[in-house]
Structures are given as C-alpha cells and as structure tokens.
Symmetry: C2
Subunit: 215 residues, 2 copies
C-alpha cells in the first residue's frame, strides 16, 4: 500500500510540475502579446487557459481518489491537502496570465503599454518567469533554500510595481485614461502572479519542515 | 463516531459563518472609510484582518484534526476539503476589504473617491454586503436556490465595475492620476470580493448536489 501511495504522490507531483510549466509559458506569451500588441498570441493564451483548468480538475480528482482509497493521516494527509492548495495557486496564476492577454486583446491594434513603461513591464515579465521557474524547481526538488529565494524575487516584483506607479504619477501623462487603467491592472496581475508563486514555494516548505512561513 | 463527526462539522460550519460575518463587517467598514475618508475606521479594518487570519488557521487546524482522527471518505472527505476551500475564499475576502481600507488610509486626509464616482462605489459596497450576507445564509442553510441568486448579484457588481471605467473614460477627468489608480484598484477589489462570495456559494452547491457550477 505504502509504495502505491508514494507512486501516486510522485505522479501527482509530476502533473504539478507540468501545470507550473503551462502557467509559466502562458505568462511569457501574455507578456509578449502585451508588449508587441500580438493579437494571435493573446488569443492563444486566452484559449489555452482551458488546458490549465482541465489539468487542475484532473489533479484534484486524482488527489481525492488517493485520499478516499488510502485514507492518509498526519503528514500524508497534509501533503494531499497542500497539493490541492498548490493546484489552486497555479490555476490562479493561469488566470492572471489570461487577464494580461485580455488587456493586450482589448487594445489591439494599439499597444496597451506606452514606450516609457515598456522596460518596466518587460522586467516584470522577466521576474515572473524567474519566480515561476523557481516555483517549479521547488516543487520538483523540495529545496527549502531555493524556496527562500522566491521571496527576493517577489521583493523585486514589488519594487517594479512601485516603479510603475511612480512613472504614472511623477510627470504629466500624455497617454490617456485607458492606458492608466491598463497599466494599473497589469501591474496588479504581475504582482499577484508573483505572490501566488511565493505561496506555492511556502506550501512546499511547509510540507518539508512543517513550518508556516509568512513575511 | 458518526455523531461526533456530525457535531464537529456543525461546529466548523458555525465558525465559517462567524468568519463570513467578520469579512462582511470588514468590507462594510472599509467602504465607509473609503467614502468618508475615515482614518480611524480604515486603521480598524487593517488591524482587524489579523482576527480573520487567526480564525482561518483555527478552522483549518480543526478540519485537519477531524480528517486525521476520522479518516472520512467519499462525501465526508469532499466536505472537509470543500470547507478548507471556503475558508481560503473568506480569508481572501478579508484581504480585499483590507486593501480597500489601505487605499482610504493612503489618501487621508484627502478622499480617494471623487464626487462623481461616490454613488457607484457606494453601490458596489452595498452589492458586496448583499452578496456576502447571502453567502453566509447559504453556508448556514445549504439553500441551493439562494446560492443561485448570488450569480445575479455578481452580475450587478460586474455592471457597476464597467460603469466605473465608463465614468473614468467618457469625460475629461480633473482628478489626476492617483485618483484614477485608486478607483481602478478599488473597482477590482470589490469585483474580486464578489467573485469569492460566488465561489463560496458554488462550493456549497457542490457539497449539496455534487455538481460543479461555473458560468
């Protein structure tokens, strides 16, 4: 019984990594769609979110199935429940990539991001890629040291988020209200995306050490 | 054993209702703080969020404890896992009230909401109250008909959210960038708050009927 349980956990873990790769790719493509006003890529992210949702449902069903058959207790039980939470974080990250893609689609053929903010949003996209890649590695390796590094990336994201607002506020803004709204929302989407990646890493730490980290 | 399990579920359900009342009150106070630039009330919501978080942890621990001791299967297992998800939604609703309160605090002694949007934000606050009250009743009563009503309230919230953007965009805006950013973010906070309330109701429907509703 014990080995079957371990195998199933391992298989579910593989699916979590696959899901992490999907939401990483979604945000990478959404960022390009946003910065380059690439409608096809935006549509591609929007329609692709269904795959993420389906994978979430599948992982959940498998987790339920394992719990119902094996009635895990203590650590194993927490592991299953934590898995369900990680899946919820990842699904939300997919939604946030979808929201970025929708901003790109809404402004097409225009560009949602004015030139003076292109660099900041490009960097936010890069930090998002770095943080989601690390979240995937943490799921795969259960490396608690790596998990802590995500906090630094999240700080970098928060710094970029503040930069965004400074640029909006510091000088007269020639780009109109729609651009302000788009930038404000996109800033929030990237920031939340990073928050959920940190949350994934914290949940893995919790699995390994039993400690809840918040900061 | 069976009766003890039912009692524990009932007790956890009572705590969910208590938590719903807390996040309802938090958003009611945050809305007043936002509209009236009431710093003390804003601070009160911000410091009060800790109580919501503690209650979340307490409910989670109790749910784990029940699962570990009773090893529920099938419906009971789903009920416990669904409870954990409802708790996560409610905690997030508390966070969103906190975010609204932080906008009020950031602009104090100014007002974050210009006169022409006061009515719309007041209404968003009212819809938030209506929807969270119904979510609480749904948890208490498991009334699937009532649960469906939340979808209509959520549509009303989405409509108000669109109105907000129309007002921002349609005429020249004399209130500056900060007000635009504040309104954009607050609009999103209310909209997400309603989404989570709908999610709570959907999860209760799922418990009662076994059906996942999305729309």
């Amino acid at each position: 019984m014990r080995d079957a349980f371990t195998d199933e956990l391992e298989s579910i873990n593989q699916s979590l990594i696959e899901m992490t790769n999907l939401v990483a790719s979604a945000m990478a493509r959404a960022t390009t769609a946003l910065l380059d006003a690439d409608l096809q890529l935006a549509e591609n992210v929007i329609s692709g979110d269904e795959t993420v949702d389906l994978l979430r449902n599948e992982i959940e069903e498998r987790a339920f199935d394992v719990m119902a058959r094996q009635a895990p207790v203590a650590t194993d039980l927490r592991m299953m429940v934590t898995t369900l939470r990680i899946v919820a974080d990842l699904e939300r990250m997919g939604d946030l990539a979808l929201h970025v893609a929708k901003v790109a689609r809404r402004r097409y053929p225009g560009r949602a991001v004015p030139p003076e903010l292109r660099g900041t949003l490009l960097e936010m996209g890069q930090v998002a890629q770095r943080i989601v890649a690390k979240a995937g590695s943490v799921i795969a390796s259960r490396d608690t040291e790596l998990a802590k590094q995500l906090e630094a990336d999240d700080d970098a994201m928060d710094g970029l988020h503040r930069t965004l607002f400074h640029v909006l506020i510091e000088k007269p803004w020639p780009h109109g209200m729609e651009a302000t709204i788009d930038i404000t929302l996109c800033g929030r989407y990237y920031e939340r995306y990073a928050d959920h990646a940190v949350s994934v890493a914290r949940r893995v730490i919790y699995l390994v050490t039993g400690e809840i980290t918040t900061s």
